[in-house]
Symmetry: C2
Subunit: 95 residues, 2 copies
DNA sequence: ATAAACAAGTTTACAAAATAAACCAAATAT
DNA sequence: ATATTTGGTTTATTTTGTAAACTTGTTTAT
């Protein structure tokens, strides 16, 4: 029987967010938005979910006078991602 | 910018179904149900969607007197799966 | 100085998807 | 004979995803 896929990560946008953060100490809202092509609303919602799950830390500060939201992956998030990828391989790799 | 993931395949159960069919000439409803642990209702619905998309062929026959639904992957489905996997790698492989 | 346009998000309302519960028809077991 | 199981389908509910509308503040133009 196939293992279940972590539903929090098995979502296109959330997976994209985490995927970006895995390779990059930190990234801000605007950057992630550009990389993913997501709408701001959708991105805001999904970042929230990842934060509530403890997968990412979100820091709201300012760059000059403009608000700036910075995200970074937590250890919990990193582990969840690598578990997810491992499980996913069972689905996509030839058996 | 990340490529979008085929939404028809980016679904745990549908991905599981196709994943099973990739390696196995054909498989019946009962077998897929056991392999995936899905409820019959959910499986029925998802098989329908894959069929309507032309990703699988569904044959309803009888084994003895009992109904038997057999599925097999079409070439279209096989191609869609391999494209999906390729795209997915951009999300899960280190960049 | 005021208004218009822009930036960075958040909230809310709607659409789509997933899922389970209820159902159906036929077969088998009691 | 009737109760249970098998092999599903249909329908209704819940969950999820997404975009549109809104908020707060900033820059730019007039």
């Amino acid at each position: 029987m196939l293992k279940p896929l972590n539903p929090l990560l098995h979502s296109e946008l959330r997976l994209a967010i985490v995927s970006i953060l895995v390779g990059v100490e930190e990234a801000d809202f605007v950057y992630i938005r550009k990389e993913t092509g997501a709408t701001a609303g959708n991105l805001s919602v999904q970042i929230d979910k990842l934060q509530k799950a403890g997968y990412i830390d979100v820091d709201k500060g300012f760059r000059g006078k403009m608000p700036r939201t910075t995200c970074r992956l937590t250890e919990v998030g990193r582990k969840a991602f690598s578990d997810y990828v491992e499980t996913l391989r069972e689905y996509i790799e030839p058996r």
